[in-house]
């Protein structure tokens, strides 16, 4: 087995009295696409900052590419690609200059930077926008440029913090396509997200994080198999009647979750469940059957939804 590119043991980060990361362990293999899934405030970004060698751990061990980030911060950062949660493109510079100047921060030779930026503009589908100002780009374009910028140093590990948050569905899909290509090329990806569909699309393996701790670990499919049923029937009776309807439904399916706006019934066959609901004389306002997702895994593990 190859050496892991990231290895964390009992990793802790405290801010004054607040413990953001409470002793987590994980490893990331080279070429793997590794996800951190969790709600806002779970400690994902804090963990990412520690991996990115811009935040010192409070205790525990952390090795990035065989180095200790609190000793070799600059050497580690030289081999990382970073896409932060909020776009922080340089607004005083044009599109191509953003790539150029960023490459120079890494001390990469001017000629090499100029060569690479052509390929990256192409990758980001921004060739015809090269002389535009940052302000004139759409949200999706800015995000693609930020991702292209992160690839300027041909990183060994690519860190993406909430890569598609705030984008419209079309822009998200374009972005996923770009990231998928990187994955195919063997780039090690580490990404955080609170979108289950994103985690399912992009991660080979993930950890589910909540309140600074790891709740579960595995591939998306394995996690769903382990913590949820194959299908879910979602029924709505209106916010006032959900509670009483749930009582009438006790014993139906493997497990029932009552959310403020709907009831989730977990079972192997969702259609059968719907028939059973009707047999019991209950008429939902709306109903649907879907496959279990990571959202359900999260709900099972924490009793809460991912997006509150």
């Amino acid at each position: 087995m190859p050496n892991p590119v990231i290895s964390a043991k009992s990793l802790v980060k405290k801010f004054k009295d607040f413990e953001a990361v409470k002793g987590i362990d994980f490893e990331v293999e080279p070429g793997e696409s590794f996800g951190l899934l969790g709600p806002n405030g779970a400690g994902k970004s804090t963990t990412m900052r520690m991996i990115g060698a811009v935040s010192n751990r409070t205790s525990g061990d952390l090795e990035i590419l065989g180095m200790d980030p609190s000793v070799d911060g600059p050497k580690i950062r030289a081999q990382l690609g970073v896409v932060p949660q909020a776009d922080n493109l340089d607004q005083e510079l044009k599109v191509w200059e953003n790539l150029y100047v960023y490459g120079r921060y890494f001390g990469i030779d001017k000629k090499i930077v100029k060569d690479r930026l052509e390929g990256l503009l192409d990758f980001a589908q921004l060739k015809d926008k090269r002389n535009e100002k940052i302000d004139d780009l759409s949200g999706g374009m800015k995000r693609r440029l930020t991702i292209a910028r992160g690839l300027m140093n041909e990183p060994k590990i690519f860190l993406l913090d909430e890569p598609t948050t705030g984008l419209d569905p079309q822009a998200r899909h374009i972005l996923w396509d770009r990231l998928f290509r990187l994955r195919e090329q063997g780039t090690t990806l580490v990404l955080t997200t609170h979108y289950m569909d994103e985690a399912e699309q992009l991660a080979d393996r993930l950890i589910v994080v909540d309140k600074g701790q790891i709740m579960a670990e595995g591939s998306p499919a394995a996690l769903i198999r382990q913590y949820s049923s194959r299908e879910v029937a979602e029924v709505r009776f209106g916010s006032d009647s959900n509670r009483s309807a749930a009582d009438a439904l006790s014993g139906v399916g493997d497990r029932i979750e009552v959310l403020p706006d709907r009831i989730l019934i977990y079972a192997n066959n969702g259609e059968e469940i719907l028939s059973e609901v009707h047999r019991r004389g209950l008429v939902p306002i709306t109903s649907l059957v879907r496959r279990s997702s990571l959202e359900d895994v999260f709900l099972k593990l924490t009793g809460r939804s991912l997006i509150d």
Partner: protein, 265 residues
Amino acid sequence: MSAIIPGLSSMYAGNAGSVISRGVRATKSTNFWIVISGFFEPVFYLLSMGIGLGALVGEVESSGKLVPYAAFIAPALLAVSGMNGAIYDSTMNVFFKLNYGKIYQTMLTTPLGPLDVALGEIFLALLRGGLYATGFLGVMQLFGLNLSWTAILAIPAVIIIAFGFASIGMGITSYMTRFQQLDLIQFFLLPMFLFSATFYPLSVYPEGVQVFIQALPLWHGVELIRALTLGTFSAGHLWHLLYFVVMIVVGLIFTSRRLKKLFQD
């Protein structure tokens, strides 16, 4: 293992040059006229106070030498122009980059360390201070206010003064989170500008006040530059330089620690 103390390798990557070239590029595209405008402020002071008021005052004595009033205040204004160039850059510009542009945040996710960023940004401030100083020295030459060849040494001296102000100024700015707080800097700088033996000799103050003024950085700058442009420089003026060397070292340590704390906690 708990507290991990960062060594120099985590502070400095030896690539401040990339920070400087980014600054030059950004200035070329957006800030050019703002930079130019800063040059005129001391020129206006020289015209109104030195030439206008100077006609009433006549000659004053400095280090035992009688000189025209304009020649007395011009070196002080030169020191001020260096200070202003450095301060504008290390406060207004740095404030924007810290709080809105997120420029440093980006830089510090690359191999660059806080000291690279501090040095690069401060060098830009010096470049500006140096440009103002050179321009102003030219104006002084035009009005015949440089009384000695040593005046040419005022340019490197102003750059050292600017270095001192910029390195401290950037650190102080890092504590500010709102634009209004920048006014505090002006609130401190304006009286320092007016009272640091800029327009009259230090001897007009009672002794207690003199000691206070002598503790302030601008007074040292004014004395140093004045000695150079009037031709009264002696070994006794070297301690003014020492003052700025200390200010530079303290400022650099202070500022890079602040950047480290803000962005690489």
